[in-house]
């Protein structure tokens, strides 16, 4: 299997605030891993650093043996790290199919789509995420749950090895959450390494076999969910803000 992502001493400062502080971890190929922490712990910053949307002040990121620290986002995507955003983003005047086609037209997506055709490849992704019957409508009319699915579809279009999901469940009803859970499990079974965040733990803890917990930019625990949930600092970090584990 081997290590797919290796992060060493990652640090990011915004003015006087240290959002990510000396953060190190490794992800094995094919792993399914969660990142938890209270609001403002720095989870999204970690994702932004991993995908090149922010440049770190110190530390290094190696993906698949390549040093990707400070690379531009599109280069990182084409190496095989795709991400979704906490707030849904879509190309609002393009159809759902074209939204996914854009990813399929990226250099990495093209490697897959050139044999079967862009449209067919995009349709197959829409079938997988369950939006194929809405292929010809623009995303502005979609409900929130479908937009989350579209997010994942857009990321999958670039044929990623490692998929970063930023709060994939936020703002969803229970049924919608189950749908996304199935989708993520299916992707993991297809061999995609998955790294996801969440600040409400209920869904995450039942889904992933390994969890990283962070608080104020620091890694405070790393292990199976049950162990991490019982960790003293984790409890303090959460209980201090009046939030508990369900």
């Amino acid at each position: 299997m081997g290590v797919i992502l290796e992060v060493k001493n990652l640090t990011k400062k915004f003015g006087g605030l240290t959002a990510v502080n000396d953060f190190s971890f490794e992800i094995e190929r094919g792993e399914f891993i969660g990142l938890i922490g209270p609001n403002g712990a720095g989870k999204t910053t970690i994702f932004n650093l991993l995908t090149g949307f922010e440049k770190p002040n110190a530390g290094s990121i190696r993906f698949d043996g390549i040093n990707i620290t400070g690379m531009s986002p599109y280069k990182i995507v084409n190496l095989g790290i795709a991400r979704t955003f906490q707030l849904v983003r879509s190309f609002k005047f393009l159809t759902i199919l074209d939204n996914v086609s854009v990813s399929c037209l990226s250099p990495r997506g093209k490697k897959v789509s050139k044999d079967i055709g862009t449209e067919e490849y995009a349709s197959s992704i829409l079938t997988a995420v369950g939006l194929v019957d809405k292929a010809r409508i623009p995303p502005i009319v979609l409900p929130h749950g479908d937009l989350r699915k579209l997010q994942i579809g857009k990321a999958v279009g670039t044929n990623p090895q490692l998929l970063l999901l930023d709060e994939p469940f936020s703002g969803l009803s229970h049924e919608e959450q189950l749908g996304i859970t199935d989708l993520i499990n299916k992707l993991h079974d297809d061999g995609v390494t998955i790294f996801m965040t969440g600040h409400v733990l209920r869904e995450l803890m039942t889904l992933v076999p390994r969890v990283l917990a962070m608080h104020q930019g620091k890694l405070i625990a790393d292990g199976p969910p049950r162990e991490v949930a019982g960790h003293k600092i984790v409890l303090e970090a959460y209980l201090g803000r009046g939030e508990g584990f369900a």
Binding site: S90, F91, G157
Partner: protein
């Protein structure tokens, strides 16, 4: 390696268009050389052409191989393309487009008045290409340029220079001007396209202003008087009309086709959400520069025609007026439609003409009248359009027409 390269290139149907345009330019180049050396020196010009510029026949043969492979690959697409075209012409929009094209095509049969044909219809058609080029950049890629006059004007100057000073025929001059506009767009685009929103608009505007100052200087380049005495396309205004008409059709079709292609999808994704496009693995800067270059090419074509129509060109062509003309026209016609640029251009030119007849600015001091009637029409029109037809008049007009049509047919 060569085979892989070939395969990769063959897949791109856009490539066929590019190579075809390239051949057109090469052909015009050979013709120009012939023009210089005369037909007696055919061999000399051929030798010069192949040795100096393209390292011999091998290069050309290689090009032919690629082109032929690309055509063969795309050949089977032609029947389905024709079928789709016919189906489209059967729809309301397609029929309307065909109808409008026919109307414009038969105008010279209805009036031979040189003023109407020349100063209104031909100018409006030239502005159509110009405004469409701006719409391509702003409507499809979301990059708002306030310096489109830089390409328009530069190509105008270069075309005039080639025709007047180098004695080139008009067609190679026109393409040469457009190619230089492409070069200028690279020089302007590579630094400015890193800017976003209003900063990009100001950045492009400042480049156009620099060019204005440069060309307005009395001693360098062509001096403050500019170039004049450029011959028209033809002595006969009707021939001129049809040449420009053909160029309008070709230019708009190419821009529309690119907009509807996969490349267009990528352009539109950058317009809708640049960060999202980057997260989808798109090299946004590269695509923005590509859109800029395509836009500059067509603005350059328009600039060349404009110079030939006016028989003169001066630094005024880099003025903000010419940068804002396409903006107003596209706002009238509707953004991201391409054909809306045509509606806007005709509407604009004819409105100015009508208002010139009606409005009487005699009571103003001399000189102020000219400024006022253009500026007034500009601002009033823009305010009215933004207030009452935010998406441009074309879309709502087509909808109303379609409703009327349905009622007439009893649907």
């Amino acid at each position: 390696m060569q085979i892989r390269f070939l395969n990769r290139i063959k897949e791109n149907s856009l490539f066929v268009i590019c190579v075809s345009v390239f051949y057109l330019v090469e052909l015009t180049y050979i013709l120009t050389l012939l023009y210089y050396f005369g037909y007696t020196s055919l061999i000399l010009s051929t030798i010069l052409y192949f040795t100096l510029f393209y390292f011999g026949f091998l290069y050309l043969a290689f090009n032919f191989t690629i082109l032929w492979a690309a055509i063969k690959r795309n050949f089977k697409l032609i029947p389905s393309a024709i079928r789709r075209l016919m189906a489209w012409l059967g729809t309301f929009k397609g029929g309307l487009t065909l109808f409008c094209m026919l109307i414009i095509a038969i105008i010279p049969l209805l009036t031979q008045n040189a003023y109407y044909l020349g100063s209104m219809f031909i100018v409006a058609m030239i502005y159509t290409i110009y405004a469409a080029s701006w719409d391509f950049l702003a409507g499809y890629t979301g990059q708002v340029s306030f310096g489109q006059a830089a390409f328009f004007g530069f190509a105008g100057y270069v075309t005039a220079d080639r025709i007047l000073i180098q004695n080139w025929p008009w067609l190679p001059s026109l393409f040469f001007g457009a190619l230089i506009a492409v070069l200028i767009s690279l020089i302007i685009g590579i630094p400015t396209l890193r800017l976003k929103g209003p900063y990009l608009a100001l950045g492009t505007l400042s480049f156009a202003s620099i060019l204005y100052l440069l060309f307005a200087m009395p001693t360098i380049l062509y001096g403050s008087t500019g170039l004049f005495g450029v011959p028209r396309l033809s002595e006969n205004v009707i021939i001129e009309y049809y040449i420009v008409f053909i160029f309008v059709i070709i230019s708009l079709t190419i821009m529309k086709a690119i907009g509807n292609s996969k490349l267009g999808t990528v352009f539109k994704s950058i317009r809708d959400d640049e960060t999202g496009a980057e997260a989808s693995g798109i090299h946004t800067t590269r695509y923005k520069i590509l859109a800029f270059v395509i836009s500059a090419f067509f603005a350059g074509i328009a600039g060349g025609f404009f110079t030939m129509r006016n028989t003169a060109v001066s630094a005024q062509i880099f003025g903000t007026t010419y940068s804002f003309y396409p903006l107003v026209m596209v706002a009238i016609g509707g953004i991201a439609t391409i054909s809306g640029a045509g509606v806007g251009a005709f509407f604009f030119i004819f409105l100015i003409e009508i208002l010139r007849g009606v409005a009487d600015f005699q009571w103003l001091p001399a000189g102020a009248a000219d400024f006022l009637d253009d500026a007034l029409i500009f601002s009033v029109l823009l305010i009215l359009v933004i207030r009452f037809a935010g998406a441009g008049v074309l879309k709502s007009a087509i909808e109303r027409l379609k409703n009327l049509w349905d009622i007439l047919l009893g649907r």
